[in-house]
């Protein structure tokens, strides 16, 4: 999953460095607040541990072996912020000292494996472990599932970054300048190896290590010192979680204009007007392995497309002239609608529960 230099365009590298930097900054602030002077030795030694675990050959069913990332155990013991820092430092040492993995792509690698990997691993483990006791078997299973899911989500994000390269960065004759395979090739090619070997290796090492810790060093599963880990009861020491979630939602909303960078329409999302436009028809044929679209607009498509007209066609209300502003406005509108739906659903659920609890 380590992307070497040369596979990603400079603008992708800069964007992912920016994402990674915001992750590192937030993680550093949180870890510094919780651990104070203990932060440096704990994160450093844990980073060294992550580095060494990445070198382990994990035996898999069927007689093969695979390499784990160790991000799941780091997220379980240190929490997502500590894990982001420790795994990022391990990846930086690999790139800067051993020359493994790129330097221009270090931001991308840290974003995919350390940030996405840690957050997904922690989230899935927390969800699966629920409020079970630290020694419960459910926790080892939760760690295995968290390991499998986190590695595959990180691989999917990596495949997406590689898969958008040919459509966004090519020369005048259409020759891809960086990673050459589009999404429909990059995603299956990347996922086959991760759904089988790498995901399984992470699941085996995560479940096995949690099981070992349960029998020999259970304190680590309750968190190190004042680090919360995933407690079996009480809150997660994440009082500012909603604030951060709002920040993340806001950041993603501000990033929505990135969609403007994409050339043409998404595959399979063509309108009847697209099918009638000769330039668009050529683009559709090129994107479909030179298989030409039907000569006339299918009658069913034409009939159904007239039923509903979106209020914000092309992600911009008609009165907005700036595409960038239109994207942000559409994102705000969409998020607002979802929040409204969530609030209504929550009220209904609360009301039903109150009625059920009445004698």
């Amino acid at each position: 999953m380590h992307i070497p230099d040369g596979y990603l365009s400079p603008s992708t590298c800069v964007t992912l460095y920016a994402f990674a930097t915001s992750g590192w900054y937030t993680a550093l602030k949180r870890v510094r607040r919780r651990l104070a002077t203990r932060m440096i030795p704990l994160i450093s030694v844990f980073a060294a541990f992550s580095f060494v675990v990445m070198m382990f050959n994990v035996p898999l069913p069927g007689g093969t072996t695979g390499h784990a990332l160790g991000v799941t155990v780091a997220a379980i013991v240190l929490g997502p912020s500590g894990s982001i820092l420790a795994v990022s430092i391990a990846l930086a040492i690999q790139a800067l000292f051993f020359g493994d993995g790129g330097i221009t792509t270090l931001g991308a690698n840290c974003f995919n494996m350390a940030i996405v990997g840690s957050i997904v691993a922690f989230g899935v483990y927390r969800l699966m472990a629920g409020r079970s006791e630290a020694g419960a078997r459910r926790r080892a299973l939760a760690a295995g599932i968290a390991g499998y899911v986190s590695i595959n989500v990180a691989a999917l994000v990596t495949a997406f970054e590689l898969g958008i390269q040919p459509s966004l960065f090519h020369d005048a004759s259409g020759v891809p300048l960086y990673a050459p395979y589009p999404l429909h090739v990059a995603i299956p090619a990347m996922m086959i190896g991760h759904l089988t070997f790498a995901g399984l290796a992470e699941a085996v090492i995560s479940a096995g290590m949690v099981s070992y810790l349960q029998s020999c060093d259970i304190g680590l599963l309750r968190g190190i010192g004042d680090f919360p880990g995933v407690p079996s009861s009480g809150n997660f020491g994440e009082s500012s979680l909603p604030v951060r979630l709002w920040g993340i939602v806001g950041l993603f909303m501000l990033c929505t204009p990135l969609g403007i960078l994409a050339v043409g329409a998404a595959w399979g999302e063509w309108s009847s007007a697209d099918l009638a436009n000769p330039a668009m028809r050529a683009h559709i044929a090129a994107a479909s392995g030179n298989y030409p679209p039907p000569a006339t607009v299918p009658a069913g498509l034409q009939k159904l497309s007239a039923i509903w007209t979106a209020p914000f066609p092309g992600y911009a209300p008609r009165f907005v002239k700036s595409a960038t502003f239109g994207y942000v406005l559409s994102a705000m509108f969409g998020v607002g609608l979802l929040l409204l739906a969530a609030m209504v659903a929550t009220k209904i659920v609360k009301k039903t529960r109150k009625q059920e609890s009445r004698p």
Partner: protein
Amino acid sequence: MSMSEESFIESTLRGFARAFSKALISEQAASQPGLLQSFDPRVRLVGVMGLAISTVLCRKLAVIAALMVLAILLAIASRLSVWSLARRVWFAVLGFTGLIALPAVFITPGSRIVLAPVLHLSISASGVRTAALLVLRVETTATLTTVLVLCTPWAHILRALRSLRMPAEIVTMLAMTHRYVFLLIETANQMFESRLSRTVGKLTGPEKRRMTARTAGVLLSKSVELSHEVYLAMLSRGFDGEVRVLNDFRLKAHDYLGLTGFACAAGLAIWMGR
């Protein structure tokens, strides 16, 4: 990837030995007199990184090839063995990226130049260019970063990063991680060796997995204990959370000349490779 019964332990041990050998070669090469070694570490870091970035920015094969030649000349002038560079970088990149790029030769649409005799596969000019761009770009950036890593002691890279305004806490954590990586590799090495010497007969799949997970678990417990000890040692020396890093580099005329050379080469490559 198929493994014989115990060879997963041996292949892990081989991985540890490779890491030690890489680190040793790096330290030896960095202490030799050579062109790159004669520059201030900040000039080395910024200069070689500038060339790597210009390689990523270049869109023309000929310009990337010229940067590759420059990287090889830099390696020779820095007294690095071209053969070891070929083994460590070129063959490894060719084996990985070359394999990844190969299908692009056949599946990229474009004017056909050759029809392969088997399976009616056609090779297009665009396909060859796509694959060549990827392989050459990766070879060049990997050569440049390896030359930088081999010619700069780790302590110098860290001090250069600090003088380039990287937060002191991060630089300290990178330094400490590097130190403890080798200690933990040594610890894991001893655990695997002692297990190997006590293994008679064949281990079943679940036994192998349990053994690996337990070794990793013990390593985790040892790491946490080690971090407590390191913390106490730091406290005993008066650590108060404030990180202080020495920064005693001085740029000389020779360094300014080197920096100008790197900047000109990178600038020219970006301009010509647009």
